[in-house]
């Protein structure tokens, strides 16, 4: 029983980073109904820039953090301009494939920047742990959970208490009606991308600072985890993204403990496939799915 609870706690802690990645995906999906496959790669390139500074100039960890987030945002803007803004609005497929080829491009650029397989990434704290009763908590994972909670809180305030948040939600609810209300679509989409990259950059930094290393596989990993978590929770739903991320973390932690390392990813994909086949809207996205279906039927 203690093992079970400990695994669940570990899962929730790690799942908080998945939740941040999923939030990034879901913001842009909500506004554009399109998938940005280059998301993981843009975080990776941002983090590589930070690591590059760290490797060559031994800068402070906070500079690495700021560089990572800032470069992720810049790359995010590049992706938005090239793959989403410039592509015709009725060509959702072209946008997705375009973001995929840009993923490959960004990944190769990152590998040219730092050609070795692994690099040390500066941690925020020295790795440590503390005990509470029979349970063990790792310091850096607790910090990640807190950071995720702060980010989610700030996002919630931004989306529900500001005019910009209102514009974003209106666009994702009904783009045409939002445009009639005088909301500038292009601008809103660009801001959504910046927001996505911000969430992604912070999540990326938190994950890498916990792992304390970075490899060229990070882009693929981040895209996958964010995508799975978003789909589990329900596409386009913010609370769903959080729930999906936590669920993914918990399931992976249990699979790792009870079945072994090779079943960790398998369990995640199995869960996703089963969820999509039985309940395509995920945990909280059923309403969004049925609304879209309704709109489709009406046309």
């Amino acid at each position: 029983m203690i093992d079970f609870i400990q695994n669940t706690v570990d899962g929730v802690m790690f799942g908080s980073s998945y939740a941040l990645l999923a939030i990034g995906f879901t913001i842009v999906f909500g506004v554009m109904r399109r998938l940005n496959l280059a998301f993981g790669a843009s975080i990776m390139l941002g983090a590589y820039m930070g690591t590059w500074l760290h490797v060559h100039y031994q800068v402070h960890v906070l500079v690495v953090a700021v560089t990572t987030v800032a470069c992720t945002v810049l790359v995010g803007i590049y992706v938005e301009r090239l793959c989403f803004h410039a592509v015709r609005r009725d060509a959702a497929l072209a946008s997705m494939v375009s973001s995929f080829v840009i993923w490959m491009q960004l990944e190769e650029a990152a590998i040219h920047l730092l050609p070795e397989r692994t690099y040390a990434f500066p941690g925020l704290f020295a790795a440590g742990s503390y005990e509470a009763g029979p349970f063990l908590f790792r310091t850096e994972q607790t910090a990640m959970l807190l950071l995720a909670a702060v980010m989610v809180g700030a996002l919630h305030l931004l989306l529900h208490r500001t005019r910009f948040g209102l514009a974003l939600r209106a666009t994702s609810e009904n783009p045409l009606a939002a445009a009639y209300m005088g909301i500038h679509r292009t601008w809103t989409v660009l801001c959504a991308f910046v927001l996505m990259s911000l969430a992604g950059g912070v999540a990326g930094f938190a994950i890498l600072a916990t792992d304390q290393q970075i490899t060229p596989f990070f882009g693929l990993w981040a895209t996958f985890k964010g995508l799975i978590a978003m789909m589990l929770g329900g596409m386009g739903s913010l609370p769903g993204a959080i729930l999906g991320g936590l669920l993914l973390g918990v399931v992976e932690a249990h699979a790792l403990w009870y079945l072994g390392a090779e079943y960790r990813d398998l369990s995640a994909f199995l869960l996703l496939f089963a969820m999509l086949v039985s309940r395509p809207g995920g945990l909280l996205g059923q309403r969004i799915l049925s609304r879209e279906e309704l709109a489709f039927r009406r046309v």
């Binding site: 592509v87 009725d90 497929l93 494939v97 080829v101 490959m104 190769e108 650029a109 040219h112 994909f269």
Partner: protein, 305 residues
């Protein structure tokens, strides 16, 4: 031709199978991130037939194609309700499941004093049918292109037939197709199955060309590349995927000075291309224009005679 050229050409041929498979689904309006799963299943099944049971290669290719097609139909039936992105992600999840299961599967039999069979992460070694028969790479390349031509002819015939129109109809508006009295469920499963078979044939050939397959090769990169080839080449004709493959592997592989920067160049080119041609180089409109051009010219020629 030296071995390098033959290898590149063979790779173009084998990757074209998975490109065609993704293209077929694109035509029916489904975006699949998971065609590499059937490529992998075809490769493992065909490898098992020739290396573990010592049967001839045509049995291997047949079994590979059937296994891939059968599983593709089951997955197609399971994911029927899904559309758009939901469908894409479910195919991705399935393909990753297949890859991760192949990483665990460990089934080996003793053949002539050697253990042969899938060995988890180490892959499936010793699919040596081609070398045991002293076939050169060039011969095998002919086999690849022969089968590819066959598949292409079948696809082009399908495109001219009623079935082709049904597939395109599903792609443009499946509600309308249903209202015309078409059994969309059956056609969707059929399309998934045919796409699986095409991909499976490619996998079966791949296993015998390289003599060795590992699950890592069938990762999502292969599948999304296949998708990109179909879209870049164009959705108007089955020749589209070749153009995509030829641009990526053929052209960029052969230009030396962009070695190491291949994805940066290809990624940038493809992204710019998709801005101006969102349905690829040979999209429906251009194919139609080309066809009328040919027809008019033939017509004129006939009159002159």
């Amino acid at each position: 031709m030296d071995d390098y050229v033959i290898t590149v050409l063979s790779n173009i041929g084998m990757i074209s199978f998975i490109g065609l498979s993704a293209y077929l689904l694109l035509v029916t309006g489904e975006i699949s991130f998971g065609q590499q799963a059937y490529f992998g299943l075809g490769a493992y099944a065909a490898g098992a037939v020739t290396a573990m049971f010592l049967l001839p290669i045509w049995v291997g290719i047949l079994v590979g194609a059937c296994v891939a097609g059968g599983i593709a139909m089951v997955v197609g039936a399971l994911t029927l309700r899904l559309s758009g992105l939901y469908f894409s992600i479910s195919t991705l999840a399935f393909a990753e499941m297949v890859r991760l299961i192949l990483l665990i599967v460990h089934v080996q039999v003793e053949v002539e004093g050697e253990m042969v069979g899938p060995a988890g992460a180490e892959g499936f070694h010793g699919i040596r049918w081609m070398f045991e028969r002293d076939l050169s790479l060039a011969h095998f390349m002919l086999l690849i292109y022969g089968l590819l031509a066959l598949v292409l002819i079948v696809l082009l015939l399908v495109e001219r037939s009623r079935l082709g129109s049904v597939f395109r109809m599903l792609g443009s508006d499946d509600l309308l197709a249903e209202m015309q009295g078409l059994d969309t469920v059956r056609y969707r499963i059929l399309a998934a199955g045919v796409a699986g078979v095409i991909s499976g044939i490619g996998g079966a050939l791949y296993a015998h060309f390289t003599t060795y397959v590992e699950p890592q090769f069938f990762n999502v990169m292969l599948g999304v590349h296949a998708l990109a080839y179909g879209l870049i080449g164009g959705l108007g004709t089955a020749f589209g995927p070749f153009i995509g493959v030829a641009i990526d592997i053929g052209f960029l592989e052969s230009v030396r000075f962009i070695q190491g920067y291949r994805m940066i160049v290809f990624g940038g080119l493809a992204a710019v291309l998709l801005i101006f041609m969102p349905r690829g180089i040979l999209d429906e409109e251009r194919v139609h224009r080309l066809k009328t051009l040919f027809r008019r010219r033939n017509h004129a020629g006939a009159q002159r005679r």
